[in-house]
């Protein structure tokens, strides 16, 4: 965990992003961003809301295409893949959505069984064993008959995690895994992310703005702001960074390089004018 290593300089990277630019709805989200995700580690991507973190995950998964630059996952250029190849790649990656994105019409058991039923022809007894093992990993074997509407936020996310690992992917992307959870659930999710990374040897990418939780579990951290990487290093290095951007984010300061005010005209003039 304290190895002084840089993902960007490592030869064995699972994901390589090179000079990626992307505009959505007329706004430039990514402005030439370059970084790599090392294999088998927990890498954090931190940054404020709207800094383009989730957009990055969508690029890895091929749900968005960059305007320019390269997105390479496991040696394959994602934007150039055909639909069938993209689906083959996606079978080896999992994305844990912020909301969990469980299927509301299926029980917990069926939610976890869903990817197996879609992609394999396992017999029912074996499928049952696999699903129960994954549910046991997240501590929810007893909740298998519940419907998603009966779960708390933390439980829903754990079920989604069980569903994400059921096909034994090479990488899991966590989109804001701690948002909206109580401290106990946060701790449980953090422990699970770390444990799964070690026991299954999965590459984990944690996108979050929750500084302490994310730093506690990650091997390497990137800070994204204004569509670029504004800081990187081990969590300890990032926390001691002198960069103004990094300091503002890590210390949660309202004013700094990221302005508090949304750009607006002169205040007095605005008040004196009659119309909105």
């Amino acid at each position: 965990m304290n190895q002084p290593r840089s993902g960007a300089q490592d030869g064995d990277n699972l994901v390589d992003i090179r000079d990626v630019r992307l505009s959505l709805g007329g706004r430039q989200i990514l402005k030439g961003i370059t970084f790599s995700i090392p294999r088998g580690k927990v890498t954090a991507i931190m940054g404020g809301s709207g800094s383009g973190k989730t957009t990055l995950l969508n690029l890895f998964g091929g749900r968005l295409k960059p305007d320019a630059g390269q997105v390479i996952v496991d040696g394959q250029s994602v934007p150039d893949l055909k639909t069938k190849e993209l689906y083959e790649l996606r079978k080896r990656m999992a994305l844990l959505f912020q909301t969990g994105a469980l299927f509301t019409d299926l029980s917990v058991f069926e939610n976890v069984a869903f990817p197996i039923r879609e992609h394999t022809r396992l017999s029912e007894p074996i499928l049952r064993k696999v699903v129960l093992m994954k549910l046991e990993t997240v501590g929810l074997r007893g909740a298998r008959q519940l419907m998603p509407s009966e779960l708390s936020g933390g439980m829903a996310r754990r079920v989604a995690l069980a569903r994400a690992i059921v096909m034994e992917p090479m990488m899991i992307m966590y989109d804001e895994p701690f948002t909206g959870l109580d401290p106990i659930s946060k701790g449980v999710i953090a422990k699970l992310i770390r444990e799964l990374n070690q026991s299954l040897g999965i590459t984990s990418i944690v996108v979050s703005h929750d500084v302490p939780e994310t730093c506690s579990i990650s091997d390497y951290a990137y800070l994204v702001g204004d569509g670029r990487i504004i800081g990187q290093g081990t969590p300890a290095e990032v926390q001691q960074s002198k960069s103004e951007y990094v300091r503002q984010f890590m210390d949660g300061l309202p004013e700094g390089p990221v302005p508090y005010q949304y750009p607006a005209g002169d205040y007095v003039q605005d008040l004196l004018q009659g119309t909105a």
């Binding site: 689906y87 996606r90 079978k91 912020q98 994105a101 299927f103 509301t104 879609e118």
Partner: protein, 259 residues
């Protein structure tokens, strides 16, 4: 000038949307082929879309038939041909009211439910989640619902007509004293299988395809917010109703061959 520009914008948007809807239909039809070996997914949807719509269809059919019986009797009796009541009720239902009213009710009950369900699945990232699990949501979610609607609609229309005839019988024979033998035999003689029943079936199949297509497309294309899903549901009912009424005229004109 601005009005012209706005008008142009609306036309371009509509054409673009129609294009997207057509491509979407093509993908759904492709996805439908893959459902042959997983037909249980379609059966589930026939239940959700069809069986759960049964109550409103049967009750409406009964009352429409009863009203036809009353109105028809009052008009026919003036010409001394009250015995033709069975024929009048059956033809009105099988050729027109059965398919059209069923389609309108179907759009209101099942179509809006389909749009809301798919729109909410999109809003809660279930569709995105499925894509990320390498499962094509068009094959897994949209195609079964589409086929379910297309299969359910003609069956519902047939049931509507059948119970409507019973409603007409109830009022005509039971209350107004039309001869039961005349009621049924006139119907049997006058209703042609090809010209009347088959035309009605063709109509209900076409309405089924159009209503379900609109419903699933609006859901899939909805802006993933509560407001977006609400307006998509709204559009489903409005567009389906307009499409059904417009197509009904065209299909009737084609089958009668007089326009």
């Amino acid at each position: 000038m601005n009005t012209l520009r706005a008008l142009g914008g609306i036309v371009i948007n509509s054409v673009e949307r129609l294009g997207r809807a057509s491509l979407f239909l093509y993908e759904v039809l492709l996805g439908s082929w893959e459902l042959i070996r997983r037909f249980y997914l379609v059966v589930q949807q026939v239940y959700a879309v069809g069986v759960l719509t049964l109550l409103i269809i049967l009750v409406s059919g009964l009352f429409v038939g009863m009203v036809l019986g009353l109105q028809g009797y009052n008009t026919l009796v003036k010409f001394g041909s009250a015995n033709s009541l069975g024929l009048l009720v059956a033809l009105s239902l099988v050729r027109e009211l059965g398919p059209v009213v069923t389609a309108l009710l179907f759009a209101g009950r099942a179509g809006s439910a389909l749009t809301a369900e798919i729109g909410l699945m999109k809003a809660t990232e279930q569709i995105a989640g499925m894509e990320m699990m390498a499962v094509n949501p068009i094959t897994r979610i949209i195609a079964p619902r589409f086929l379910g609607g297309v299969i359910a609609m003609p069956l519902l229309a047939a049931l509507f007509s059948a119970i409507g005839v019973l409603g007409g019988h109830l009022v005509g024979v039971g209350l107004l004293g039309v001869d039961a033998g005349a009621f049924w035999s006139q119907m049997q003689n006058g209703v042609d299988f090809r010209d009347d029943i088959l035309n009605g079936v063709v109509k209900s199949v076409v309405f089924g395809v159009v209503c379900t297509w609109i419903a699933v497309f609006e859901g899939y294309d909805a802006v993933p917010t509560s407001e977006g899903v609400a307006s998509a549901t709204n559009r489903t009912v409005v567009y389906s109703s307009l499409a059904v009424l417009g197509l009904d005229f065209i299909l009737t004109a084609l089958t009668l061959g007089e326009v």
